[in-house]
Amino acid sequence: MIAFFVNFPLFSIVLCLLCAVLCALLKGKAARIVSLSLCGVVAVLAFCVLVYGLQTGAATEYPMGHYPHPWGNELRFGIAEPLVALVFAVVMLLCLIGGKQQLDVDLEPGKRNLYYVMCDLVLVSLLALAYTNDVFTGYVFIEICTIASCGLLMIRQIGRTTLAATRYMIFSLIGSGLFLLGVILLYGVTGQLLMPSLKAAIAALWEGGQYRTALLSAMTLMTVGLAIKSGLFPFHLWMPDTYAYSTPASAGILSGLVSKGYSFLLIKLVFGVFGTDVFYGSGVSNVLYVFGALGIIVGSISAAREKDVFRMIAFSSAAQIGYLYFGIGLTPALGMLAAIFHLLTHAVTKPLLFLAAGQLGEAAGGRLRHTWRGAAHRNRTAGLMFSLGAFSMIGIPLTMGFVSKYRFALAAFERPTLLVVTLIVLAVSTVLNAMYFMRVIIGIYTPVPERRTRMTLREQRPFAVSSLLLALLNLSAGVAAQPLVLLLERGLSLL
């Protein structure tokens, strides 16, 4: 039985594509049901693959089509890939459930099914990015993901989203263009596209000192391309509008999942293509470290200056992406582990924040911070969930955010030369996070004379259910972090 699970990555990808086609034909409500069940099924399939990975204890290469190794197209999965896919599918499901209220308003009646087509396409590209063993397939799904993400953003037809989508498109296309150039260069030098063969070829060339410039350029191009797409400083300027003006479900998916898909691909490339020796020996990692650190600080400062709460959360995402690259740049073992743990933390926390902010925005009737006064009294669930998400971002013990912070701090000690800098960046970022999140929390809990009616739990059942599940995920992973860390550690060793 378990041996059959080996096919599930392929099944889930094909299933997503089929559902995307199906949704294009269906009416809005049916398409929603199909997409929601798809997320659920993909999550179950990913869980089965995870079980398979744990059983075999090794990475499995899964060839597709009839072409043998150097030419064919392959999937590869160990433990980290299905785990990430599982989190992606679950979070996407919860985003779609939790954002229902706003989706009903924001989607034009005739175009509802198209939204779910885009969701399915985003899911398939995330799965493909997680499972692929072929850099060109990676590129193809990067492009699919870009287009579908633009769709998720544009579906809410207000002027700002068109502008945001244009900007997002430009940044994204530059990013994927650079990635493609890197792939071409690598192919030109090595003649390979499959990750394991590429890795062997690169290691041999690097050892012999040949094509240093070409390899370094290719590595830089691919890294920078993915960094632009996930929004690393100084390429984070597309983020605020993109996340802040899309409907909360889209904001959750875009910030929590899409940018993480690219980061996860980079982690895969570091282990599976460049090899840690080459990557960390070449100095590219140091560049990531520096820009990650700058991203943390600049993102947090921008968030602190922002009066629009949605844009504030978006800038906070820029800072969190900074954390990811900061960890990747720090060290290959503990730094990488911290980065991938933070990837999950952010994937769980940011959608919670966006969904809760969406509800609070409704309750307050505005986007700006000062209009939010007393909003938590009108919508208690959303206020509580927002606070919890904020505490996780700040890194209060028992939340997932604390474990992330702790793992980053531990990683700092693996590289004593950067020890003090790393820890000061962490501390300063904590202070900045506390500053801007606390301002909102104090505001929403400040009572004002009641003008609006209070939201009851029944009126917002979808949001309540999904945010509660996200919060539970966050807290349980915060309390029982050790099993997850061990799992990720094993996963990283198989990448």
Partner: protein, 487 residues
């Protein structure tokens, strides 16, 4: 049995407090009728724990191999629990009368009870990680208490308080991870856990300073003290108990734990880090007293005085000698008793007359004699006049500084200067109350009378306590010496 008992002591008030918050009780009587027994019961549990709990620690949860939630009541912990468990019920009684006319009593009493649990958690923590967790919890549970008046000033003060506390904890976190990754992640031990410098001498000192300044934020160390006077906008029971005792002394307590229980006094003695820290404490002592002198708002003046007095404690602890830490603990208890009484008096004045400035105290002594007798006694004690407890603790602080010699002399000078300033800023307030200015408008005081018995009783009890601890200092002295010997 011991860990369950301790966990109960912590969780019971915390859970009860959260429940009080959620219940949204409309009846003030029911609210206080539920709150008082909870606080009293917790204090009883605590005293039982102090007297009968064995000193060995016990694990509650193991998050990761080196992140363990460990509860343990050693001598120092018992001492702090004792202070807290005595003062909390008294303040609760005071608050029942004080909060009657204020807004949102449910939120106030809920978090007031919950923060009791968090403070006990800090006191009963067996290792640095546990203490850090409860330290953060203490911040979170006390933030709503500062926010209580919900005015613009309160919101600003809350933001500042939260920011300073979280920022401090973030640096203390760095020190904690330093200790964990150096293998010093066990329970607080006598003589410290570190033993040697794992990443070189300077790195050790740097991280100790991170931890010292980080926890020092809550102990209102200059230049990180600004939140404390601002937080005086909170209702008086909060300023009195939390911002003169529980929260700020948790900061000092955490510094002592970090220094003696983790890094080890031997490792730091004579280092540059110790000199820097001693100097900072000395500067804070003089600065706090001088700022108190300049301040005209009654509660803020007392808050600045707290800033100075917390650094007395830190200064004593940072001498890194047994005599120093014993004197520091003595002052911790003495100041808790004194300052809470002063704040109670200031709160009674505000509650009865609405007056907040020191210049408006003229002639109130005759109208509120009990309040001002208590305040005057606390002023004498704070200045360090015999036979009150402030004299005993200051005496031992000075002798400890003199014994330590070297840079400690600067601190001794600061202590003397501060005593002079204390005399001025406390006694001018007393002078106005008892001997009003000739041109003061005393007719405005015609309707003023004493506060209710719930407010007077705690003051009187504490005043008697000040005298008793001053006259019969021997048992307390023996207790703190025993604790100091075990660190």
């Amino acid at each position: 049995m011991a860990p369950i008992w301790l966990l109960g002591c912590i969780l019971f008030p915390f859970a009860a407090g959260m429940l009080l918050c959620l219940l949204h009780l409309r009846s003030y009587r029911l609210l206080t009728g539920l709150m008082l027994p909870v606080i009293l019961l917790t204090s009883l549990f605590c005293w039982a724990a102090i007297l009968f709990c064995p000193a060995d620690g016990a694990e509650v949860i193991r998050f990761a191999p080196n992140l363990v939630l460990l509860l343990r009541l050693d001598g120092l912990g018992r001492f702090f629990v004792g202070i807290v468990a005595t003062l909390w019920p008294l303040t609760a009684l005071y608050a029942v009368s004080y909060m009657r006319r204020e807004q949102h009593p449910g939120m106030f009493f809920g978090f007031f009870t919950a923060s009791y649990g968090a403070t006990l958690g800090v006191a009963a923590a067996g290792n640095l990680f546990t203490m850090y967790c409860f330290y953060e919890l203490l911040t979170l549970t006390t933030v709503p208490l500062v926010l209580q008046p919900m005015t613009r000033a309160a919101r600003k003060a809350t933001r500042m308080y939260f920011l300073y506390s979280i920022g401090g904890a973030a640096f203390a976190f760095a020190a904690m991870v330093f200790l964990i990754s150096s293998g010093a992640d066990g329970a607080f031990g006598a003589g410290g856990l570190l033993g040697a410098h794992p990443y070189g001498e300077n790195i050790t000192y740097l991280f100790w300073l991170f931890g010292f300044l980080g926890f020092g934020v809550k102990a209102a160390l200059f230049p990180l003290h600004a939140w404390l006077p601002k937080a005086a906008v909170a209702p008086t029971p909060v300023t009195a108990l939390l911002h003169a005792v529980a929260v700020v002394k948790a900061g000092a307590f955490a510094v002592i734990r970090l220094t003696y229980g983790c890094f080890g006094a031997d490792l730091l003695r004579g280092s540059r880090a110790q000199t820097v820290a001693l100097m900072l404490a000395a500067v804070t002592i003089v600065y706090g007293s001088a700022a108190a002198l300049k301040e005209t708002n009654f509660k803020r003046r007392l808050a600045y005085s707290t800033v100075a007095n917390l650094s007395y404690i830190l200064f004593g602890a940072l001498l890194l000698t047994p005599a120093g830490i014993a004197a520091a603990l003595l002052h911790m208890a003495a100041h808790a008793c004194i300052k809470i009484t002063s704040f109670f008096a200031a709160g009674a004045v505000r509650h009865e007359t609405g007056r907040e400035s020191v210049y408006e105290l003229d002639g109130l002594g005759k109208r509120m004699p009990v309040t001002f007798v208590c305040f005057t006694v606390s002023a004498f004690a704070l200045t360090g006049l015999p036979p009150f407890n402030g004299f005993v603790s200051k005496w031992y602080l000075l002798t400890a500084a003199a014994e330590a010699g070297g840079v400690a002399w600067v601190g001794a000078g600061a202590l003397l200067l501060s005593a002079l300033l204390t005399a001025i800023y406390m006694l001018t307030a007393c002078r106005r109350a008892w001997f009003p200015d000739k041109n003061a408008n005393l007719s405005a005081l015609s309707g003023v009378h004493e506060a209710e018995w719930q407010m007077l009783l705690p003051m009187l009890v504490l005043t008697v306590g000040m005298l008793a601890c001053g006259v019969f200092a021997e048992p307390i002295l023996a207790a703190v010496r025993a604790i100091a010997a075990g660190l």
